[in-house]
């Protein structure tokens, strides 16, 4: 292998990165309520208990609704910002775009408490909508980061050609630009969906009577006998997010290839 000691270090580092994730299926299929080695036997009991927990199913449903709504909202906002940034020059461009990206560098607990203060101050009640508002705020910068590269790789003369050939601005955007940035849009939707689905602290502060999945899990972690079921659920979630990310990566690469750019790798 190339790289000598560096390659050895890289493999060890990957082992460190994957250590917790490898343990997950081990304990999910282990026939014991105690999460420790040695493993005692194989069982699928924890998986079959999953559908019999109504609170869990309700929290999965809440999380899915929140994540889908967040993904759509933050991608739409992201398209506006990324296109404005790539296509137009306007006064205050840098400070405005920088301000929109600000949630990326704020500790999430600050975002959570500041939204809580305002929502309670206005006398609004906490619900899935308040979580969606918070999640859209933190997901939009990620959407912008992904869509920026999609819009920046775009050749502006394609759209100009469409306008010259008699299309209106909107229809040239819809017919020329949109299909070209579609892969970026899809990966933005998937990333925002994944972030929202996993986000804990904002949901913890802003959730109403229907907990999201991470908030429900947080409650379960206090009861040792519930933990194997949590492990089973975690295994399913890991499998699903790896699947989603592979799809997202596939679309991102296709997008880069379609726009004629060179692949530089990675979402961030």
């Amino acid at each position: 292998m190339r790289g000598g000691w560096l390659a050895v270090y890289a493999v060890l580092y990957l082992a460190f990165l994957y250590a917790p994730i490898v343990l997950l299926p081990l304990f999910a299929f282990n026939d014991s309520t105690i999460i420790a080695f040695p493993l005692t036997g194989f069982t699928t009991r924890w998986f079959s208990e999953l559908p019999q927990t109504p609170a869990l199913i309700a929290s999965v449903r809440t999380s899915l609704v929140i994540a889908v709504t967040t993904a759509i909202l933050s991608t739409v906002l992201g398209i506006c910002a990324a296109r404005a940034g790539a296509r137009y020059r306007f006064p205050g461009k840098r400070p405005i775009l920088g301000f929109i990206m600000l949630p990326l560098v704020l500790p999430e607990i600050i975002v959570a408490v500041s939204l809580l203060v305002v929502i309670l101050g206005l006398g609004l009640s906490l619900s899935s909508w308040t979580v969606i508002l918070g999640h859209t705020l933190i997901c939009t910068p990620f959407s912008i980061a992904i869509l920026n590269s999609a819009f920046a790789n775009l050749d502006a003369s394609l759209e100009e050609a469409a306008v010259d050939l008699g299309e209106s601005r909107w229809s040239s955007f819809r017919l020329v630009t949109l299909p070209l940035v579609m892969p970026g849009i899809i990966s933005s939707l998937l990333i925002a969906f994944t972030i929202s689905l996993d986000e804990f602290i904002i949901a913890f502060f802003l959730t109403g009577s229907d907990p999201t999945l991470p908030v429900y899990l947080w409650g379960q972690l206090r009861f040792p006998q519930k933990i194997p079921v949590v492990m089973a659920l975690g295994t399913i979630l890991v499998a699903l997010s790896v699947l989603l990310l592979t799809v997202a990566e596939f679309f991102r690469r296709r997008g880069v290839a379609r726009a004629g750019g060179r692949d530089t790798g990675g979402f961030l």
Partner: protein, 290 residues
């Protein structure tokens, strides 16, 4: 505003950027201003007293518990940042300089995958790994490396550092990787041709050129870790709690929103101050070198 303006480039750009900008204004700027206002108020039971006071800040600065939590948060975040960036640099270097170009995307993909899986469950699994009867202790005992389980790795600040160094690994690797990728390879060849060794080439060419990536990595790791809530709560024990845990307690348990707001403002100021000082020092260092 004349109609012509809105048809021009600037107008179209502003109209397009307006929805996300207004969203951030209403849901970020206004709430942050509200927190700032709250931090100067006081609360008695459920009643908020809006007479401006600096009592919250005075208490936050003088009360030993708050001061200790704030200092510990900065200390832990600094330790996490140092550990994460130092461990990540060789990986970024490996992927950028050793891995063949067509396999780079695969490596980056491999590095990012673990981090899109449930954060809560990952932190919990570190508790399983580091625990008294945990994976690490049973493995080391089984191998005969240690006789008694290690106890200094769970329910203290060390556990928080290990867990967060894992959680923020890709946020450190990616910026450094991007900076290394931008380095013109002919500069390195030139240095070697001029008689530098591999090590001095790295120290005098590669490392200084990758500093912007390192600075970005440090900020990206430091800022969110200082406000982390889950990790200190799950693996920190009483000695590993951080400022976010106290902010949560003030808001949700003690119903003392003004005190929580004051602590939030102080946490933001601390983050901002540390970040500015760090960026300033790096700028100065780079200038001296040039």
């Amino acid at each position: 505003m004349p109609e012509r303006f809105w048809r021009g480039e600037a107008g179209r750009g502003l109209a397009l950027v307006a929805p996300p900008a207004l969203y951030a204004l209403v849901l970020l700027a206004v709430p942050l201003a509200a927190v700032l206002a709250f931090s100067f108020w006081s609360q008695d039971g459920l009643v908020i007293d809006r007479t401006p006071t600096i009592a919250n800040y005075r208490e936050a600065v003088t009360e030993p518990l708050y001061r200790q939590l704030m200092l510990r948060s900065v200390g832990i975040a600094a330790a996490v940042t140092a550990a994460t960036v130092l461990l990540a640099y060789p990986i970024a270097y490996f992927v950028s300089f050793v891995v063949r170009p067509e396999r780079k995307a695969l490596w980056i993909f491999l590095i990012t995958i673990p981090f899109w899986t449930s954060y809560l469950i990952r932190v919990f699994l570190w508790k399983v790994i580091l625990g008294y009867n945990g994976v690490l202790n049973t493995t080391l005992q089984g191998l005969g490396v240690i006789d008694a389980p290690l106890t200094f790795i769970l329910y203290n600040a060390n556990a928080v550092v290990i867990t967060l160094a894992h959680a923020y690994a890709p946020f450190a690797i990616l910026p450094v990787f991007v900076a290394l990728e931008k380095i013109d390879r002919s500069l390195i060849e030139a240095a070697r041709d001029l008689g530098e060794t591999r090590l001095t080439t790295f120290l005098r060419v590669t490392l200084p050129l990758s500093v912007p990536g390192v600075v970005a990595a440090v900020l990206i790791v430091f800022i969110p870790t200082i406000g982390d809530y889950v990790t200190p709560r799950l693996v920190g024990g009483p000695g590993g709690l951080m400022i976010a845990n106290m902010i949560q307690t003030q808001f949700l348990k003690l119903s003392n929103a003004p005190m929580g707001a004051a602590l939030s403002v102080l946490a933001m100021l601390t983050v901002g101050a540390v970040a500015l000082v760090f960026v300033g020092l790096m700028r100065r260092w780079l200038k001296v070198r040039q």
